[in-house]
C-alpha cells in the first residue's frame, strides 16, 4: 500500500491532546477540525477532509488497521442507521450549543470558570493545572468545553474502533454526517443513475 503524507496526520491528534493536557489554550485549535470539513463541503462540495485529511480518521486507521487493535466485527445496524446518525448529530450540536452558552455566562460574569474536563457529558475530571492566566475566564471556559467534546468523541471513536471496524466512528461522526448532507444538497442530493446500483463499471 502506498503511503501518503496525510496518513501521518494522526500525529496532529496526539499533539492536540498532549498540548491541551498541559495548557488548555491549545484546545482552541480543535476548531480547525470543525471548520475544515465545512470549508471542503461548502466550498468544494466534497468530503476530502474525511477521507484524507481527518486526523482522527487517520488515528483510528493507524490504531485499528495498521497496528491491528480492531476486532473488525460488523457494527450493529442501529449504530449505522440514519436515525442514529442524525440523532447523534443533533445531540452533538446541542452539546456544542451548551458549550457556547456556558462560555457566554462566564463572559457575562453570571457564572464562574469551571476548570474541569467533562468526559461523556457526565464525568467531571479536575483539570486546573492546564489553566494559566493568559486566557480570559470566558476564553478558558470555551477551551475546557471544546477539549471535553474532542476528548469524549475521540474516546467514543477509539471504543468503537476496538469493538468493530477501525473507522467505525466515521459512520456516525457528526461532522461527517453534516458534510454528507451539505454535499448531497450541493449535488442535487442524488447519486448519478449509473452509480446507483453497484457502481461496478468505470
Amino acid at each position: 500500500m502506498k503511503r501518503h503524507w496525510y496518513h501521518y496526520l494522526w500525529i496532529w491528534s496526539v499533539l492536540y491532546f498532549s498540548l491541551g493536557f498541559f495548557n488548555i489554550a491549545f484546545a482552541w485549535l480543535g476548531l480547525i477540525s470543525f471548520f475544515l470539513p465545512l470549508i471542503f463541503a461548502i466550498g468544494f462540495g466534497n468530503k476530502a477532509f474525511c477521507n484524507r485529511y481527518c486526523d482522527r480518521g487517520q488515528l483510528l486507521r493507524m490504531l485499528g488497521s495498521q497496528l491491528g487493535f480492531s476486532r473488525r466485527r460488523d457494527m450493529p445496524s442501529w449504530l449505522k442507521s440514519r436515525y442514529f446518525r442524525y440523532g447523534f448529530l443533533v445531540f452533538f450540536l446541542t452539546m456544542f450549543g451548551q458549550i457556547i452558552y456556558t462560555t457566554y455566562l462566564v463572559f457575562a460574569g453570571a457564572s464562574s470558570l469551571q476548570e474541569v474536563v467533562t468526559l461523556f457529558w457526565t464525568i467531571r475530571v479536575p483539570w486546573q493545572w492546564a489553566y494559566s492566566a493568559e486566557l480570559t475566564p470566558g476564553a478558558a471556559q470555551f477551551a475546557f468545553g471544546l477539549y471535553s467534546l474532542m476528548l469524549t468523541s475521540a474516546l467514543i471513536g477509539i471504543i468503537t474502533m476496538l469493538l468493530f471496524r477501525p473507522r467505525s466512528w466515521c459512520v456516525y461522526c457528526p461532522m461527517g454526517t453534516m458534510t454528507q448532507l451539505i454535499c448531497k444538497a450541493k449535488g442535487d442530493g442524488t447519486i448519478p443513475a449509473e452509480e446507483s446500483v453497484s457502481n461496478g463499471k468505470e
Binding site: 466534497n46 468530503k47 477521507n51 471496524r165
Partner: protein, 66 residues
Amino acid sequence: MVKARKHAVLDPADCVACGSCVDVCPREAIHIHQGSFARIDVSRCVGCGRCVRECPASIIRLEVQA
C-alpha cells in the same frame, strides 16, 4: 470455458466516504469519486476482499462475475 471471478461492489448511497477501502486496496482499484463516495474499478479489482473487511458501514460485498 469462462472462469468466474469475484469482484467488489458497493452501494454508494450508504457510503460515508471515509476512504478505508482506498487505503487497503492492493491494486488501487478504488477511489473516492468527486470526494463524496467510493467507486470501484472492476477491471483492476482482484476480489481479495480487503475492502469488505475494512468498510465500517459494511456496504461493500464480493460478487461473482462470469
